[in-house]
């Protein structure tokens, strides 16, 4: 496997991304970035199957528009990792800021700990070919999965008494599903979101996701393979239709 190591100490994001692109063009299969400290846009618009290990804390919009690569972050991530991401994977061994997986179109974002506000907002989907997945090990702040049009958001609430305690879950959701470990209080749901029973067949559907998440973070999946979840989806596919009348 061809590995390239880049020391990003004090480096601006543009030359850093140029180096990453050059390495990918040169056939690198693995890139290790050391001393990352706040550089934004790592992997922005990047294509290919490369695996990028990020040692440090990347800045905002990690993996934005990314199409294919895998980024493993050994640290926390800033604002909006996975923003409008197309395919590929982000694995973050820590927490991340607001708008994680914003408008995501495909691929996976796994966050070991917590995320900020507006996680998974406006995620989309086209059938099964492009179905984005966001998994949060800890908890998320308000407006999780707001305006969702597709995809899956899964919150495991590891180490928390309740997986979700912030409001506005799934406001305006018109596609996709938000699955949360344990019970979710009704008042936490946003307008247009509805709770559904989490069945054995749902578990069967999401267990590969749970297993894959656990594998990345060295967790025992057995702990999570039951039906103790709440599934939240759209109350209707046209949540706004009742708000408007034509001239």
């Amino acid at each position: 496997m061809k590995t390239v190591r880049i020391d990003a100490k004090g480096m601006h994001y543009t030359p850093l991304n140029q180096k990453i692109r050059a390495a990918v063009a040169d056939g690198a299969e693995e890139i290790i970035l050391d001393n990352i400290l706040g550089q934004r846009f790592i992997g922005d618009g990047l294509r290919g199957n490369v695996r990028i290990t990020i040692n440090g804390v990347p800045g905002g919009d990690l993996g934005m528009f990314m199409s294919g690569p895998t980024c493993i972050v050994n640290g926390n991530a800033e604002h909006a990792p996975g923003n409008t991401m197309d395919s590929g994977m982000l694995v973050i061994h820590g927490s991340a800021g607001d708008a994680v997986a914003h408008g995501m179109r495909g691929g996976k974002v796994f966050i070991k700990n917590n995320i900020g506000y507006r996680g998974g907002i406006h995620m989309k989907q086209y059938e099964v070919e492009a179905r984005p997945i966001l998994v949060v090990g800890g908890t998320a702040h308000s407006f999780l999965g707001e305006y969702m049009a597709g995809g899956l958001v899964l919150v495991l609430g590891i180490g928390k008494e309740k997986a979700m305690t912030d409001r506005g879950i799934g406001s305006g959701i018109h596609g996709g599903e938000i699955i949360i470990r344990g019970d979710v209080d009704d008042y936490l749901l946003g307008v247009g979101a509805k709770k559904f029973e989490f069945t054995e067949s749902d578990l069967e559907r999401i267990s590969p996701v749970i297993k894959s998440f656990c594998e990345h973070f060295d967790l025992d999946p057995a702990e999570f393979l039951d039906t103790n979840y709440t599934r939240i989806g759209p109350a209707s596919s046209r949540p706004f239709a009742s708000k408007y009348v034509w001239e």
Binding site: R40, G45, F65, R105
Partner: protein, 503 residues
């Protein structure tokens, strides 16, 4: 239904002496106004939207359409519209949605601005004989140029120039998405801009693969819904436009009614079939001007700094300082969309009451950027209700680099501004996804009509410039001395920085 019905908006009649009973009106009307019963064509006027398809297709000119056939008691305050809106809301308790641009009878500033021409003291220029320079570059310009001497003694440019769009005429077609309008309309306009050396916007419905051959003339849009946005889309566009706001509905997001979300639209937008495509009001990754800079840079970084990035805002009260903020971000052009801008669907109260006229917005943005010494570094694109080459010339004289037209291009395709775009029934094959209706619009013929319009305006613009003794669009840009205000108040003249007629 205690409220009863409101009077029909239109009355359709057929002159039975002229009618040859060909049935074209029945075939052409997608709203179902006409039907045959026995040997007679029956008319249901209440269904009419005045799209004028039947009138245009009737071989005998036998159809007459009258607006407002039934009068209310006249009242200056309680207009028909005011009364009917109340009746509608008393029935429904909902927000009223409407199509096309602002429909209120407010004074049009363009109509109160007059252009200049030369007489005696300096000669006018004949564009037939003299070259007229209409070429316009949209994008960042360096504040100064640095040169370097090579060893051989030549002089070379040292400054790195930012990518610009090269327009042969300062008329572009604004963003109307696939979904809101049909693929055949987009194709017609794409062929037309490629032929006339200019550009069009994709809107936020992605770039259909049939448009790939014209991608060098397409500006791809990134709006709050992020529909259709991926790296391939960004790389295909000649430029990228971030849509923050739209003149028809400042401050709120987009709304594509589920009726128009068919298989193909659902695929490009990645939303469920038949569900409303909602773009949220803000971009949820932009909550501040710093975040806007971040989005601009993320787009540039993704496309390796090869594409100009525009930012489109609605013309609102503080448009000038907002544009100044955008000028200081990494944006290459600011697009200002005035309150008369069109739309497929907008809450009526927004369409008719929010935002300011584009004329005032151009003038104040241009002035603010000049005051701050950055006007030369960023381009201004104006849009929202530009109907003719005169509006175009006035926009440039007020300070715009180029304009976007939307409704005007649709009218060139057949649109009669009936305002029913949201119903997916557009009989002209424009604002619809219904295959039988879409096929009425032939992209070849449509392209010819739109490029004719662009040609016509371009010729008129050259003539207007020539008459004013100006042979380069740069000398018209921001040249407010070539405008005079007529029946405009002092405050407005001051904002426009234009003298009154006679001064």
């Amino acid at each position: 239904m205690t409220l009863g019905s409101v009077p029909p908006k239109f009355k359709v009649t057929i002159d039975r002496d002229e009618c040859m009973d060909c049935g074209r009106c029945i075939e052409n009307c997608s709203y179902g106004v006409y039907r045959r019963e026995g040997d007679r064509i029956l008319i249901e006027s209440r269904k009419c939207t005045a799209c004028l398809r039947c009138v245009s297709m009737c071989p005998r000119d036998a159809i007459t359409l009258t607006e407002k056939p039934v009068d209310y008691r006249s009242h200056p305050l309680w207009t028909r519209e005011a009364r009917e809106d109340i009746i509608n809301q008393a029935r429904s308790g909902k927000i009223i949605l409407s199509g096309m641009g602002n429909a209120r009878d407010l004074p049009v500033i363009y109509d109160r601005l007059l252009l200049d021409a030369c007489q005696v003291t300096n000669p006018s220029i004949d564009p037939l004989r003299e070259p007229m320079e209409l070429r316009t570059y949209i994008g960042k310009k360096p504040s100064k140029l640095k040169f370097r001497k090579t060893e051989s003694g030549d002089v070379e440019l040292d400054t790195k120039l930012a990518p610009n769009l090269k327009l042969d005429t300062p008329i572009m077609i604004g963003h109307m998405s696939f979904g809101a309008i049909s693929l055949n309309s987009q194709l017609s306009m794409a062929k037309a801009v490629a032929e006339t050396g200019t550009f069009m916007g994709t809107g936020e419905g992605g770039l259909h693969k049939e448009l790939y051959p014209y991608q060098d003339h397409m500006i791809v849009q990134v709006a709050s819904g992020r529909f259709g946005v991926n790296i391939d889309y960004l790389e295909r566009g000649a430029a990228i436009e971030i849509k923050i706001g739209q003149g028809a509905k400042p401050g709120i997001g987009g709304h594509l009614p589920g009726e128009k979300v068919n298989e193909e639209v659902s695929k490009t937008r990645m939303i469920p079939l038949g569900s409303d495509a909602i773009s949220p009001a803000p971009h949820h990754d932009i909550y501040s001007i710093e975040d806007l800079v971040q989005l601009i840079r993320s787009l540039k970084e993704a496309t390796e700094w090869k594409k100009p990035v525009f930012v489109k805002i609605a013309a609102v009260h503080n448009v000038a300082p907002i544009a100044a903020g955008i000028a200081r971000s990494s944006a290459d052009a600011v697009v200002i969309d005035g309150f008369r801008g069109g739309t497929g669907a907008a809450p009526k109260v927004f369409r008719d009451h929010v935002g300011i006229p584009i004329e005032a917005a151009i003038a104040s943005v241009d002035q603010k950027l000049r005051d701050q010494g950055v006007r030369n570094e960023i381009s201004i694109i104006a849009s929202g209700g530009i109907r003719s080459s005169a509006d175009l010339a006035k926009s440039i004289a007020l300070g715009a680099d180029a304009v976007y037209v939307g409704t005007a291009a649709l009218v060139a395709l057949g649109c009669r501004v009936c305002g029913n775009c949201y119903r997916n029934l557009c009989p002209w094959g424009i604002a619809t996804q219904r295959p039988d209706l879409v096929s009425r619009l032939d992209p070849e013929a449509g392209a010819a009509q739109v490029s004719n319009l662009i040609h016509g305006w371009t010729l008129e613009l050259s003539e207007l410039m020539g008459a004013a003794g100006i042979n380069s669009i740069e000398s018209l840009r921001g040249n407010r001395d070539r405008l005079r205000g007529y029946m405009l108040d002092e405050g407005m003249l001051k904002i426009l920085d234009v003298l009154p007629a006679g001064a």
